[in-house]
């Protein structure tokens, strides 16, 4: 998993936000479409695609997409 792949996958969880708006340094909590449903989508994405368990708190504590990438990368074997 590269950072670029992760960002693309992360952006893909959104329906109405253009992927070009989401970059590694994007503070994702500020996105208009950000919602509790997207949180569930991101947690399931980490689980299904990377076999990593993320908690709601992990997402709450991360500011940028890269922050979250670091958490997921750190938990991958």
């Amino acid at each position: 998993m590269t950072l670029e792949e992760f960002v693309e996958n992360f952006a893909n969880q959104f329906e109405d936000t253009d992927a070009s708006e989401i970059k590694a340094e994007t503070a994702f909590h500020d996105l208009d479409e950000w919602s509790s449903m997207i949180v569930l989508a991101i947690i399931a994405m980490a689980n299904i695609d990377y076999d990593v368990t993320l908690t709601g708190d992990d997402i709450k504590n991360a500011v940028t997409v890269k922050d979250l990438y670091d958490v997921v990368a750190g938990r991958m074997e």
Binding site: M37, L40, A41, A44, I48, T53, T55, G56, D57
Partner: protein, 258 residues
Amino acid sequence: MTSLLEEWSKMEVEFNPFSLKGKTILVTGASSGIGKGIAVACSNMGATIILVGRNNERLQATFDLLGNGDHVICSCDLTNQEDVARMVDGLPSLHGVVHCAGIGQRVLCKQLTEKVLDQVMDVNFKAPVLLQTALLKKKKIESGASIVFIASMASWSPSMGNGAYSASKGAIISYANCLGLELASRGIRVNCISPAMVWTDLILKDGLTETQLREDESKYPLKRYGTPEDIANLAIYMLSDASIWMTGSNVKISGGAF
């Protein structure tokens, strides 16, 4: 001369339609959450408990909390049919079975994969059904026994990401209705418990933060989520002879939540 009060207290001891004395009850998922709560509560009502779960160490922790009795630990992976057959062969006759083992996994419908569906259905639906089949084939269920499935209010009450879990619980309820019909001639009763949110690892590992759960909890009419003990008391009723005319029922227990 004994006082009236003493007479009354004596009567109270004798009048206990919820007693599980003399009953042997198998509880799956006994190492945590609702299963653990039910195992402990049933032992305190006098039952002999057969604790089933995957992890011996965690089952031992439940075992240590049980009331007096000749309880037994059976570590078994209920999704492995060879393991199940081996366990069932060694079991005594049962007066009660509580199917508690289950997993929760929140995945949005647009993300569902075959693997996720298989995981959820294997544990929440196929495993209890096939265990029940094995118990019946090997004639381990006594006439007049009570079988309880821990389902969920999620089976009819939607929440985001719960498609697979809700469907698995709906499936087990439908199955339980048929099982109840087939076993009624032997006086064996089959009922489901459908709880709303109960404080267990299952919901804490489910992707929502504790803050979100606390906020949701405050909206419950009775102002709190359930505890395993709340559910255990209903299980005691269903397992005891107090509910002898009850079969094919699915009881919602929810703190007032719909």
